[in-house]
Assembly symmetry: C2
Homo-oligomer: 360 residues x 2
Amino acid sequence: MPVTDAHSDEPARLANTIETVFAGQSKDYPERLLSNGSRAVLAEGADAQDDCAVFSFSGEQELVVGSDYVRGPKFRLYERGLLTEYDLGYYLVAANVSDVAAMGARPIGVLTVVRYPLDMTDAVFEQVMLGIRDACADHGAPNVGGDIGGAERLILSATAMGVCPPGRSVLRRGARPGDLVCLTAPTGIAGAATEYFRAGRVSEEIEARYRGSLLASWARPRARTAEGMALGKSGVVTSCQDTSDGLKATLEGIAVASGTGITVFEQELQVPAEVTAVCEFVGKSVLPVVMGDSVDFELVFTMAPERQDAVRAEFDSAGLGFHAIGVVTKEPGVLLEHLSGQRSPLPGKAWRHAPEQAQR
Amino acid sequence: MPVTDAHSDEPARLANTIETVFAGQSKDYPERLLSNGSRAVLAEGADAQDDCAVFSFSGEQELVVGSDYVRGPKFRLYERGLLTEYDLGYYLVAANVSDVAAMGARPIGVLTVVRYPLDMTDAVFEQVMLGIRDACADHGAPNVGGDIGGAERLILSATAMGVCPPGRSVLRRGARPGDLVCLTAPTGIAGAATEYFRAGRVSEEIEARYRGSLLASWARPRARTAEGMALGKSGVVTSCQDTSDGLKATLEGIAVASGTGITVFEQELQVPAEVTAVCEFVGKSVLPVVMGDSVDFELVFTMAPERQDAVRAEFDSAGLGFHAIGVVTKEPGVLLEHLSGQRSPLPGKAWRHAPEQAQR
């Protein structure tokens, strides 16, 4: 085991941390059998320490694969000491697996790039890798390899892979006018957490009732893997995207890709209690937090209303939930229909990945 | 087209640069047919701009997948103005595809993570993406997706994927005592380039004869994809690893993974003319540059001597070359047998990815 204040080089970290943390993963890998009998099995994982990981594929299937960098040590909550390196490792995996979930696929593995500064001790490095390992276990997708080594600060990037039967990956561009627009769970908690912890003041009520869930939105995000697989399995979902850029950006993403518009009904928008409490405390409106750049990893998806029973059946049998928030329109534009019946552009600032937005 | 000094946000860069640079790639993707009739085809690429890329797989095959971060703007030659952002994009792809080549697999795609600083103009950003695109074209593996967005400096990471028939991925750990140790081409040019350009002095002879090839080792590295596929196809190669950590580190990697030793014969080591010229100019020994932390992306592989004809036939038919430099030994340890017959540890410092080694 590494000594707390040791600063081992890469070969020692491979031998002492990577080999220990990811031992035996190929041996223990469950066979990923798709509904059509196709298989995907890990043959060589991170413990093999080869140039690449190796999967054995058999039969007709689709591989979905995506990469995301996460700001990690640039997160406001990390800079304020509210997140640990373990949390950053955990977040890296959840953020990447979320992209696989949004395709309706079953995760099969994650590759992680962890570059660390000279002053990062073996113990802290191990915490990053343990966060990665545990998030992988929680999401059913082992860390099968990647890259470690030095950099001037902690840099985190990853790639997640998943499989589904042929033709079952769910793209963004298939939404059709008349489709219901649905959401796996209300959004805004991650954004509310940012608002609250940067306020510089403390609310006794929020501390007592919501501090845990606000922090968890950053420290233990969960990609909606079960929901994603249920969407794919239903075969009736016309589009899907995760809300990692915020709900507004997601709705705009689906609408633009599909060549449609979307109207969201204010009366259908559920507002988490944490968001209501924080917005009241900091003196902000609720809707811009719910719709804006809150990074919640929920899934937005669309389907014809007459086919919603197929999705409901899949979700019910897995103990999962979703709710409709709007409808796909022929006319372009993403609008909010207020309780009054009036329509206006969606409130909230969509996440733009611009360098000046350093809070994510 | 972007204006030279514009600084667009991510949606604009996606629309103006990514869509333009990677247009139509799924449509133009060749069917990757393996020798056993299995297929891998790109269904949704970077131009789809979805959560993930999608490949359609059919039949029995192995997927190999690996991720590498590259120091990019921290390269000594970039800091000295000898490499452009286009070159860094090119390098990112070559370094990642090299890991697929080292598995004996056929590259099918690359995911790239490009995070850029606030002051990077659209024109420079486009140069990075053009370097990525052109390297992908040169290596037969399109850029199928990834992540762009802000960071405090240019950060480059990627993932490369490849396929091969079942059981044909070439690992590091299969070398057996008595096997020949072979190399696709002499190493040391990238290391010599670093030595030369940091010397702070100019040699007329080197400028006239070798400046181009020295720079090309960093600006236009080529992963040995054809060689890797020939190794996999031969079916007789017992281990393979690329020399991206330097020849010494590669030999040690194979030896340790295989539970063997390796003896390299000095008389078999070919020294590129660039390396000889630079070492003479800067007053250094040749062998530490050839064996040390020169990042050349050659392949080291092993095979039983009696089976070398199978590899030679594959290489000859593809117009490729390799040469033997040593032999796998039962006794552990990686040694150099000098012309005198004496043996000593390999010279040169193996690349360690330690943060203080900033030249890569």
